[in-house]
Symmetry: C2
Subunit: 128 residues, 2 copies
DNA sequence: CACGTCAAGTCAACATGGTTGACATTAGTG
DNA sequence: CACTAATGTCAACCATGTTGACTTGACGTG
């Protein structure tokens, strides 16, 4: 399982490294891609890390203009995060590396096998 | 996938923490359990970490008498590692937590599903 | 036997990705 | 105004790794 995780993320990590980014950056991009306009507090909850730990990678992404943050119109306290075009591109490319690996693996077991894999992973992940 | 890995190791990590141990210690115990009389150099290769990184956790395990090391009879240069009874107990308990989680997940998809899961994981892991 | 080499052990500096705690800023709310 | 919520920032610290340089003990061979 450990080696599985590593095998999946290896190529993506290499791509990210070329962009001067790493896993935590990708995790942020990934979450924001799937939940546009997420607030920072919510992001912290999803990632399960402290705001201080989030600070560094998040700032880099804002500087690089891969993310934008703006105050919400009415709920002016929180800031909403969104991917820029460039951010979307990076997130896509990085995730594509991972998806490619998964697709190839799924091809070996067919659709029912892929479904079984997903069921197992969900069952394990829910074990909190 | 990330959450899957975490779900699997969570309980085991909690158990290990109570013993004042953590993931690297378990990795050592796990490997030595499956390859008794393994030399230190070989252990380094299997774990894929540097000897300096191995040093700390390994020493703790020797101090705690979860492992023994003795020079090999004829090949006196290398040291052979072996679990003590206590070491075997700890390794079993920690691994049992992980195995329990997996077994429950596999139960939801039956034997063919479990096999598919394994095939997928191997395919991914080989992607080096 | 001296010398080279191999396995292991040790010391130090550093990187990464986190943690806690304390405190500041900014926006809304009774 | 006083309070609370969401965010931001500073500093000290920890775990787990890295590289490089050096030591020690056990062989093996010219």
């Amino acid at each position: 399982m450990y080696y599985g995780w590593r095998g999946m993320t290896l190529e993506a990590d290499e791509y990210l490294a070329k962009q001067g980014l790493s896993r935590p950056h990708h995790r942020i991009l990934y979450v924001v891609a799937r939940r546009p306009d997420i607030a920072i507090g919510a992001l912290i909850d999803v990632l399960g890390i402290s705001k201080q730990a989030l600070n560094r990678p998040l700032h880099l992404l804002l500087e690089r203009k891969l993310l934008t943050s703006k105050r919400s119109p009415e709920q002016h306290r929180s800031k909403l995060l969104r991917l820029t075009e460039a951010g979307r591109r990076v997130e896509q490319k990085a995730s594509d590396h991972e998806r490619k690996v998964m697709r190839e693996a799924f091809d070996r077991v067919g659709a029912p096998g892929a479904e079984a894999w997903t069921t197992v992973m969900k069952a394990i992940a829910d074990n909190n």
